[in-house]
Symmetry: C2
Subunit: 276 residues, 2 copies
């Protein structure tokens, strides 16, 4: 189904996210097996999605960048990094990002809106009227309303998960019902047009699976191979069930204050945006 030449030309424009410019067709190595002779790339390989990632002070960079690396592999898509203003936004690990658009500048009609998580910064965003109104507005019309990690709590505070199954960072899943969601322990939870992913690194799995949904399996496999996504975690402690008991306890303890504050926000803030 694929014209190699068309694919390469298209890739040159769009697959930059995956990290490499396409080779001109004339330069394909002669020892490669012969390519397809179809003259057209599958029509569904070229899209025109409008994708927005929210960023806010103290968000977790890898939540966003993992999903972003996969979704920017979508040929033809346009991606916006949306901040409240154009000021530099500092992540919770100290990375400094320049937004490409403000709330006002972000397109009104989005195919995908994606909200990363964090800790103190997420709690602050969950109480920020401008942020919640922006999410509520774009989320009300977006084709996919998505989150990584505790970003689901921010979606929830904006009233966007009421009546939906959703997940979050493992330590915060029990908070979801405070925001009207049906808490579901899974790495990716898809309910109608809501897609929520688990903690931090789950954004890569979420992004790649959405690429497969928006294009097709072979396309997603290309993106996966380009990112060499064949993980080999050096330890086996990535879930509270698999981690040693003491490790799970140490990390659970670190969420006590976060969870208390999120509970308060669920009581005090969420009802205003659920109904508003």
């Amino acid at each position: 189904m694929i014209s190699k030449r068309d694919l390469l030309l298209a890739s040159a424009a769009g697959l930059a996210a995956a990290g490499l410019r396409a080779a001109p067709a004339a330069e394909v190595a002669p020892d490669m097996p012969a390519g397809h002779d179809m003259s057209q790339m599958p029509a569904n390989w070229m899209g025109k999605e409008q994708i927005a990632f929210l960023i806010y002070p103290e968000f977790t960079a890898l939540d966003m960048v993992g999903a972003h690396a996969m979704l920017t592999g979508l040929l033809g898509a346009t991606t916006h990094i949306v901040g409240k203003t154009r000021d530099i936004v500092k992540s919770d690990s100290g990375l400094q990002f320049q937004p490409s658009a403000t709330f006002d500048e972000c397109p009104r009609e989005l195919d995908i809106i994606c909200v990363p998580g964090g800790a103190a910064g997420t709690l602050a965003a969950m109480q920020d009227d401008g942020t919640l109104r922006f999410l509520k507005d774009r989320g009300s019309r977006a084709k996919f309303v998505t989150s990584v990690c505790t970003g689901s709590l921010l979606l929830g505070a904006a009233g966007l998960l009421t009546g939906y199954k959703a997940t979050s960072h493992w330590a915060t899943i029990p908070l979801l019902p405070l925001f009207g969601a049906n808490a579901t322990a899974a790495r990716i939870v898809h309910d109608r047009n809501r897609i929520t992913a688990g903690g931090v690194t789950a954004g890569i799995d979420f992004g790649l699976s959405l690429v497969g949904q928006l294009r097709d399996r072979q396309y997603a496999e290309c993106v996966q191979l380009m990112a060499q996504y064949a993980p080999e975690p050096p330890y086996d402690a990535g879930t509270p069930e698999r981690a040693p008991r003491e490790v799970t306890k140490i990390m659970s303890d670190m969420f006590v204050d976060f969870n208390k504050q999120a509970e308060r926000i669920g009581r005090d803030v969420y009802p205003r945006y659920r109904d508003g």
Copy 2:
């Protein structure tokens, strides 16, 4: 071996990278199992590493951010995002990063220097005298000289891999001997103080394994659990061997031009920095 209180206090300062503020000890949930009563955190859990990540135009953001997310979990470490100047640096997926230090401002003595990869941008950096001299200088004294993806070719161009085993993005491994390295197909290759990782997502595995080496297993497991790093790739195409043959061919074809240009740099540029 761990005082929960000390851990939490220390974590509040340093584990922010992993995404959450520590709970004050007094607020630990009463239904948690009783903590340790040791009064000291293991001495080796607190470090003072100086860590620098190079960024340059058109680098691949996830190469850097994956490793950064793990290494900033090191309590006490200081991390620098180093650009040639303080100007915003745009990644190959369009993310815009503000460097925290210039080449001149970067500490002279580093514990870790880490170089992400890319495509056109990496080829340009491999021919930029200022970048190569910076890498050669800091790399000559750094405790660990490391890379993700095609970042190894940039280390190589600076003469830093001569005589070392190393890896790179799967499609560029055969280029390594042009830069004096012993090409090795593995997700992470560790030879003396050089650590090179494979393509893009391998940076997470590299970063987490180095956390374990610099602290200990339990510490790294805490970082892994915080990042919920229990990957569930939705497809199984992350290596050229596992991907369908057609997928591997499409992606290999995309590297033809990159590889030709890198070969030329290996001939023309590398010898000057190998010996200089």
